[in-house]
Symmetry: C2
Subunit: 306 residues, 2 copies
Amino acid sequence: MAEADFLARLRAIATHPAARGLMDDAAVIGDLVLTHDMIVEGVHYLATDPPGDVAWKLVAVNLSDLAAKGATPEGVLLGYPIGDPAWDAAFVAGLAVALDRFDVALLGGDTVCAPDGAPRMLGLTALGRSPRAPDRRAARPGDDLWLVGAIGEAGAGLAIARGAKGSATLLAAYRRPQPLLAQGRLLAPHAHAMADVSDGLLIDAARIAAASGIAVAIDLDAVPRSPALSAHAGDDRAARLAAVTAGDDYALILAADPADARAIEALGVGAARIGRFADGEGLTLCDRGTPVPLPTRLGWEHRRAS
Amino acid sequence: MAEADFLARLRAIATHPAARGLMDDAAVIGDLVLTHDMIVEGVHYLATDPPGDVAWKLVAVNLSDLAAKGATPEGVLLGYPIGDPAWDAAFVAGLAVALDRFDVALLGGDTVCAPDGAPRMLGLTALGRSPRAPDRRAARPGDDLWLVGAIGEAGAGLAIARGAKGSATLLAAYRRPQPLLAQGRLLAPHAHAMADVSDGLLIDAARIAAASGIAVAIDLDAVPRSPALSAHAGDDRAARLAAVTAGDDYALILAADPADARAIEALGVGAARIGRFADGEGLTLCDRGTPVPLPTRLGWEHRRAS
């Protein structure tokens, strides 16, 4: 509630069209796309995660926002609390790897002294360009809901990072998420609305619907299953519900006109049609045609980025 | 040392020209100017400062970086840890006042849950446009050093905020600094180099010299004295040395060709010629022609923004 109230107050002053009502992944000014995401030790990553992986994740979560706007990233600004020299040095080394991998420039930022004993709180601003950035608020009744990317692997990877047994593939999905930049650029011209899946497939799809003032229905059985995750957690409904509410996937979801279905399939990005938008409001879920009660928790509420 | 080492590691990967070697107030890509500054409770502001003033300061310190690049601000992205609802609500109210005052849009950002008991750490990214952003690294031997803005008032205001007696004018200089945006735009066409004075006049002038690979000499007696500060702290050399090392002034300093002196005076921005650049390195200080030993502390080292 404190967060909802705070966001409502911010939205009341964020009246510039570029702010998109603080409901989108990024701000869009002309062809410029800007996002700022923070990650906090103990919330978005574990204190035991390697610093190079934390740097990767900080870059990846921001670039994923740009991917959802069909943008090509150009640069980042880092907000960093300096503390333990060895950790910080490993972080910069990991930052260099991530920026090099995605061909993004470190442009600037700020450093401060880390408060003693406080969890690390890292901030990054990413800047990119998109010829046409889809808006999260522009899904239309009748649109298909498409998904690109694996769902649930990172959630299992988090449990593995915490000590559970499991594969390196799943651990990597949690520690080294891959922003779907090329896919986002290909999909953007077909998307009425697009967003990344950072907090959970169900909650992020529901947010597109809410932001667009319509309803969305998801076919649980149409959500592609990751072979690595199926081998790890099985394929029953509980496992599949865990996957669609786990978060940290950095997949893309989009709303597109059914007339674009063949064009989207022809992009070769592995897009799966997992539901549709309709007049009304809210999220409904089915499994092989049978309605499924919504889980109490649709995803990570408290990590909502604006 | 930890910070110097960390910045050296960052600089090694910040090779894009827009990063300006992480030595400038802001990154510059074409006409786009981008900065990210953080403020931390107990370091950049007091836990007892009113939240509306903290919001003002967060905006002002970032816009001051844009002012130093002759930029017109367009928007900001906020990185905010949500904690105490009353404090947070007062912060947003103050943010609205500051953004309205400077005609800047809130474009986006991110919120996280504030870690329990940790000092607040607030981040802001500001975006502006400048037709020609002066570089901190481009002062030339023979250039004059000019100052626009009051020096030392905020340092006295900080002591007043901590409980010392003093005037509302000085307290306001600390709590509600004024970024010199109009002055920055007027000065930029005349500036070889320009920077804002955030950490102290001496240290920030020395940084222009160091970034430009030359020396700078400052005439202490040429630094204009604020009537409010003189009434508060007197005018002896100790008081004037305290003023030029106090920081938080958000004044502007620039290096300009002596041939531009009359044009700069004619701008009507109250520019004072307080020194000159020369071949060599380092900072020297004089008072009425007599060399003055440098104070041990030239300003705030640990708050260096890149």
